[in-house]
């Protein structure tokens, strides 16, 4: 419940936000070309090619999605598994280029990716912090400035020059989280990651998200937890089978979504 109060937003707060557009999707579609059978080797491909048996099926993970998100907004994205929620985040993160339509993003985007995805076990914590920072697009000067803060947050000064293969999984996650969230992005993408980890870890990550929000970052939050979205987001978008089913006030969209699930 205290989560609720921490994140509930007053109307004035929304109005005070400068109504600048942070993200705009215009008739966006993403089409995966799915081979009817998975062909993973060149040998197979050559054989199939000779037999004339290569068949593709187009699969639209997203189709005709248009929406705008203002700077400083926190928007929840809901929908069933495989509806295209993560695909949408990938479009904003520039990982995928849309097959059709247009994506415009203003500002630095940071994905809250699975913590420590880029770590190498043979490198020390210190070396990994710099490597991971570079993966997120930072320069050395920027990382040197962040380094102390990151290690402070992770509380890992005693182990920072030890190869990470000797870290416990908890230490590994702590360092990954500290790096990933010290980025001060303009736009933060959160894809269900908060559901992993123990309770204190979750609380810490909520606090970080709140910090981002207060600083005026735009946040896209994908979750299956309607309570969390209701508590934290002004607006919600419901994606169903690749198209935008509804967008608007979080409570209303969630109600609509719930009705469709029960009937």
């Amino acid at each position: 419940m205290n989560l609720h109060t921490a994140f509930s937003v007053s109307e004035e707060e929304i109005k005070d936000q400068p109504q600048q557009i942070a993200i705009r999707l215009e008739g966006v579609g993403v089409c995966y070309r799915v081979a009817s059978e998975r062909i993973a080797t060149f040998k197979e491909y050559a054989i199939r090619l000779l037999q004339g048996k290569i068949m593709h099926r187009d699969f639209w993970a997203l189709r005709s999605v248009s929406l705008t998100i203002s700077t400083g907004e926190m928007i929840g994205i809901i929908g069933q598994n495989g509806a295209g929620k993560s695909t949408m985040l990938k479009l904003v993160a520039r990982v995928l280029r849309p097959t059709e339509g247009r994506v415009v993003v203003r500002g630095k985007v940071a994905p809250l990716l699975e913590f420590g995805a880029g770590f190498h076990p043979d490198l020390t914590g210190r070396e990994n912090v710099f490597l991971n920072g570079a993966l997120l697009g930072f320069t050395r000067e920027e990382m040197e400035e962040k380094f102390t803060r990151i290690v402070d947050f992770a509380e890992l000064w005693d182990f920072i020059d030890v190869p990470m293969r000797n870290y416990s999984s908890g230490m590994w996650a702590r360092l990954g989280f500290a790096v990933a969230t010290d980025v001060e992005p303009d736009i933060l993408l959160v894809d269900e990651v908060l559901s992993v980890g123990d309770e204190s870890f979750q609380r810490k990550s909520f606090a970080r998200m709140q910090e981002f929000r207060d600083r005026g970052a735009t946040i896209l939050f994908v979750s299956h937890s309607m309570d969390m979205i209701e508590a934290m987001c002004h607006r919600a978008a419901w994606i169903n089978h690749g198209s935008l089913e509804a967008i608007g006030n979080a409570d209303e969209v969630i109600q609509e979504y719930r009705r469709s699930q029960t009937s």
Binding site: Y32, R33, A40, T41, F42, K43, Y45, K90, L91, A93, R94, V95, L96, R97, P98, G101, R102, V103, V104, V105, R106, G107, K108, V109, P111, L113, E114, A117, G118, H120, D122, L123, E127, F130, L131, A134, L135, L136, G137, F138, T139, R140, M143, P163, D186
Partner: protein, 277 residues
């Protein structure tokens, strides 16, 4: 802090030339390239006793074996064969390792590419950087062997950065080309190993191309780009000559065209990688 000025705007519809865009992106992410090179060097040497020395000992060992085999078994007692073979091996190893690493890193980096944006050429560019560091290190045993075996070291040795640059451009271009295909087919990396082995024996690495019988000799010269790259690498070091300018021009031309084609093909396909890897 004036945030509005720092806003970088990404617009998917703004399709400038992706090849040029990638050059800008790789420059912007140069620190990532440095970190990748650092990681490759550190992880390779950290857990071995002799560390960096392996870069130098590895071609030395092969050179000793080949010298014994060729001079004793085949009786080909070429003057300064040890230095000849070592200069070839050093250049060849750079080429083979760099192209391989470009493929392996991109396939390995697939899981990262599905999560965050980074210039996709960063993998091949950093593989070339790592290779260049190793190549410079292995010049040390090469010069030592030349000293010991009495092959004169001439001032032309300072021309070596030029053929090294050509080799790097060629390896980067080819690495980009093959890794583009390797994204789609997992067995390309395996096939490339076999190709590399055959290619090495078709190149004047461990033998001098003069020993080849005539029809083959001119075919290899005409069709094998590595012939020109190896010759222009050897000339200033082993032979102590200013390389023949026409061969340098051919080597440079081949390298430039390979890099250009590799870069264009790779960046043209790079947007599809996240759909595939």
């Amino acid at each position: 802090m004036n945030k509005a000025d720092q806003f970088s705007v990404y617009d998917s519809a703004q399709q400038r030339s992706t090849a040029l865009e990638e050059i800008r992106a790789i420059f912007q992410y140069r620190y990532l390239v440095v970190q990748f090179i650092r990681r490759d060097l550190l992880t390779r040497y950290k857990r071995s006793v002799l560390g960096v020395a392996w870069t130098m000992l590895n071609p030395l060992g092969t050179m000793i074996i080949l010298t014994i085999v060729f001079s004793r078994v085949f009786g080909a007692n070429k003057e300064g064969y040890a230095a000849y073979v070592l200069s070839g091996l050093v250049a060849w190893n750079f080429f083979a390792q760099t192209t391989n690493a470009a493929i392996v890193h991109l396939v390995w980096g697939g899981s990262l590419l599905r999560r965050i944006y980074m210039p996709r050429t960063a993998f091949a560019v950093s593989a070339t950087g790592t290779g260049l560091v190793n190549l410079v290190l292995s010049l040390v045993p090469l010069l030592l062997v030349m000293l010991v075996t009495g092959v004169p070291i001439r001032p032309t040795v300072f021309l070596i950065p030029v053929p090294m640059l050509f080799l790097a451009m060629f390896a980067l271009g080819l690495g980009l080309l093959i890794s583009t295909v390797a994204i789609y087919f997992a067995d390309i990396a395996e096939m490339y190993q076999i190709v590399l082995t055959a290619w090495m024996y078709l190149s004047p690495v461990i033998y001098s191309y003069e020993i080849l019988p005539e029809p083959y000799r001119s075919w290899i010269m005409r069709l094998n780009p590595m012939y020109y790259l190896l010759t222009s690498f050897r000339a200033p070091v082993y032979s102590g000559q200013v390389p023949d300018w026409s061969e340098v021009l051919i080597a440079g031309g081949i390298s430039f065209v390979t890099l250009l084609v590799g870069w264009l093909v790779f960046t043209g396909k790079a947007d599809e990688f996240a759909y595939r890897v």
